[in-house]
Amino acid sequence: MQRRATINAAQDLLLDAHEICKSFAQTRALSDASLRLRAGATHALLGANGAGKSTLSRVISGHIRRDGGEISYRGRPLAARSPREALDAGIAMVMQETSLAPDLSVLENIFLPELRKPGRLSRTAMRRRASEILADLGQEHSLSLDAEAGDLSAAQRQLVEIAKALVVNASLIIFDEPTASLSPSEVERLFDVITRLKQADCAIVFVSHRLEEVFVVSDEITVMREGRTVAASRPTSSLNQTELVRLMVGRDIGTIYASAAIRSASRGPPVLSVSHLSAPPTVRDVSFDLHRGEVLGLGGLVGAGRSETVETLFGLRARAGGEVWLDGRPFAPRGPAQAIRAGVGFVAEDRRRQSIAPDLSVRENLLLGHLGAHRGFGLGYSRLDEKVRTLMARLELPAERLADSNLLNFSGGMQQKIVIARWLLLEPKVLILDEPTKGVDIGTRASIYAVLRDIAATGAAILVISSEFEELLGLADRVVVMSDGASIADAPSTVLNEEKLTLLAAPRSSMERNRRLLQELASEQDGAAFWAILDAERVFCLNAATVNAKADPGLKAGDAPHFDETPLGLALRACAPDFVTDPRSGLRCLLVDVKSHRGHELGTIGLVIDADQPTPPATSIRAAIIERFRGTV
């Protein structure tokens, strides 16, 4: 009866999935998931890690088979048993973890789904079509069709993945976190493409963790939590960010980060000091200091080289250059064993692949780090029993589960706690954690944060990598931002926010054009130019170019000086539409706010000229800057 009543509303319904269930071994990934999609609408699918968004997407696109529930597509039941069947029905998916064939060219990868079709392929037609799509994505100049996919950066791989879905003319495209490794301007281009697809009556599913993007791009929102749909097809305009977060986590999120203790001004010498570390191809120039009792965040986009940096520090990758000191002594471990004995612990990113030995019991998994550090013929397990019990209690884990034979039967959060406990047992001076809350439920996250805070308070130094900027800002005292293998900013998390982090983290390859424009601007006016974000009292430099040394404002990418620490203090404070001369330095500075063509704030462009030059006309330069920088950052 109820179905009959909804039939009218279902006129333009393209896909209706309901009561979908799916279990993997002991874990229930989906228990009562539903999703209704309309043609010509963009639908955001939201949820915390492990809520089942990806699983549901993959069920619809035929990558995995559902255990139960029904999907109707264009009014008929859909049972896609493979991605190929889904593609034939017009359903394409842009995967979060890219599925490109590394040895094939970009062109071949884009047309991979076509290769199964019988008959000859016209290479010319393929090239033409692929070039069109890359042009749509704004990549016609930066991405060669003949490049091998394996040589591409993370952002480029993601773009090829998107092109692959566009080429099949699908009527339903699922984007699973397509923006995780893209720069803001690439994201803008993608949103343009999505808008065009929508106008062509395509249905879009957009999975993202970045709520601000969701509000920009989506028409409707479905929220999932613990495998079920908790809010179905709500109009985006009817929701705000706080409500969304509450729907996603089931309660207010404000309390989960343990607030950092008030830090003393003098931090003493660093425990770990990294200077110009390089390990090609992904790590090029990384520097930072880590102090006792500090939680330092390492931020950046996927593929920026953060994991590779910490793997190099831990001795898992060969170092090509740079210096590292641990407690003031040179530190160059040739393998993890040396790093561990020197007092460094490392919780790796991929739990299943890098941390868990599934054939060992939970207890032995917990003691694996001890086994590595232990010298001697025996095991030395029993001496640690008391310590293990204390640790289990501290991590709120039931001690009797130690005897369990398979750690993989535990939830993601409990697995992660055991892995963290493995290192806490060794009482490391420096603990490195790579995406410590990936696939960890929100409750366990809170207790992991609390434990990290605790051990920092006892004097350990903690280095955390996280792709979730919110987590990074909540957890870390200080954040070092990496982009394309280099550390480009180092700032207290209190002066940062998600927007600044996003702009700072943009891949340097995407910044090339911006740098060139700054360079042009600086040489035209024989001065210096910079791109920055200004807040109440600090200038956040994102990029800078200097032609005339006399006009050099002393800013470089990643700097975040107080206004008065720059020679432009007055100008930065004035926010005037004209050139402002700083009385102390004599430098004259024009500030122009730039926006993308979608109206997004993209920071401020500054032009600096020295005292000897005549002041150029501000109005025409302003207009030229706005025109030139539109959508290029």
Partner: protein, 328 residues
């Protein structure tokens, strides 16, 4: 600083009801061995005779000792196809050494030769990340060819009769070769269960990357199993030669397959990380019992291969179907 709110996490405990699935692997295999033993004793009146039982133990010695090394290798996710030809080669080394040296020195030479070759193949496999199958296949071919060359293509028979004592001395009525077998199994069990090295072998086999990140010496413990395997091939060759006082360059042909079969029947996973030394011993007994039983029943030796093969396949299939970790 107030502690953050913490939500308790529900965790579904796996049920603790006893079933064939939840029983330890060794118990399941022991059950299978008993079933076979009972079946054979019903089928043949000779099976349970003391003489036949002692015979069974005697027949288990060579394959049993080689299977210990094979267990080590399979536990780290490798395979050693060279054990048979190494038994042949180290036998020849023993025979030639006996012409010039006393028995203990000659035996030491043979064992060192086996271990040395194990170091080479293990290092090639672990350091250069080469396929164990291919490297040990190569060593297998080289080993057999060297055995022919060193022996001059004939069997060596002028062996001091004193070598016989290695097998036929009895302690409390049990032959020394059987005692050696049991002592080696006890040592291997203690090593794999109670030492850092033993647990490291399990960890490396279960997840090499995790073991490396935990600071374990993955390279050393990836080479060690091949050394153990090579050395134990030589021990097996010594006992083989001692029994018949003759050394044939062809000795040990096909031994690798019997050893692998025993380990697999004993429940080890060829992917590494799973398997026990006691399981292997039971696997050896199952193999030997079936051979022996088929002989007693007068089944043509040509059928024995089919029977052994079917049992290997059935054992692996049963393990996959019963294993709680199977991803069906």
């Amino acid at each position: 600083m107030s502690p953050p709110t913490i939500v308790s996490v529900r965790e579904e405990r796996p049920r603790r009801r006893w079933s064939v699935r939840s029983a330890p692997l060794e118990l399941r295999m022991l059950g299978l061995a008993l079933v076979i033993a009972i079946a054979l004793s019903l089928l043949s009146p000779y099976f349970l005779k003391t003489n036949n039982l002692l015979n069974l133990l005697d027949q288990s010695v060579v394959v049993g000792i080689v299977a210990i090394g094979m267990t080590f290798v399979i536990l780290i996710g490798g395979i050693d196809l060279s054990v048979g030809s190494l038994a042949g080669l180290t036998g020849v080394v023993l025979g030639l050494s006996l012409h010039q040296f006393p028995i203990p020195v000659a035996v030491a030479f043979a064992v060192l030769a086996g271990a040395g070759i194990g170091v080479v193949s293990g290092f090639l496999i672990a350091y250069f990340d080469l396929a164990a199958f291919v490297i040990t296949l190569g060593v297998m071919a080289i080993g057999r060819s060297l055995a022919y060359i060193f022996s001059g293509q004939t069997s060596i028979s002028d062996i001091p009769a004193g070598l016989n004592d290695l097998v036929y001395t009895t302690v409390l009525g049990v032959q020394t070769n059987v005692l050696t077998l049991l002592a080696l199994y006890a040592l291997a069990w203690l090593y794999l269960t109670f030492t850092k090295g033993g647990r490291t072998i399990y960890a490396v086999g279960s997840n090499r990357e995790a073991a490396r990140i935990a600071g374990l010496n993955v390279l050393f413990y990836s080479v060690l199993p091949y050394v153990v395997s090579g050395a134990l091939s030589a021990v097996a060759a010594t006992l083989m030669s001692a029994q018949i006082l003759s050394i044939d360059p062809l000795a040990g042909t096909g031994l690798e397959l019997d050893a692998i079969a025993a380990v697999v029947i004993g429940g080890a996973s060829l992917y590494g990380g799973r398997g026990t030394i006691i399981g292997t011993l039971i696997g050896v007994f199952i193999m030997v019992m079936i051979r022996n039983g088929l002989n007693l029943l007068g089944v043509s030796p040509f059928w024995q291969g089919s029977a052994i093969g079917a049992i290997i396949i059935a054992a692996v299939l049963a393990e996959r179907l019963l294993s709680p970790r199977s991803r069906r």
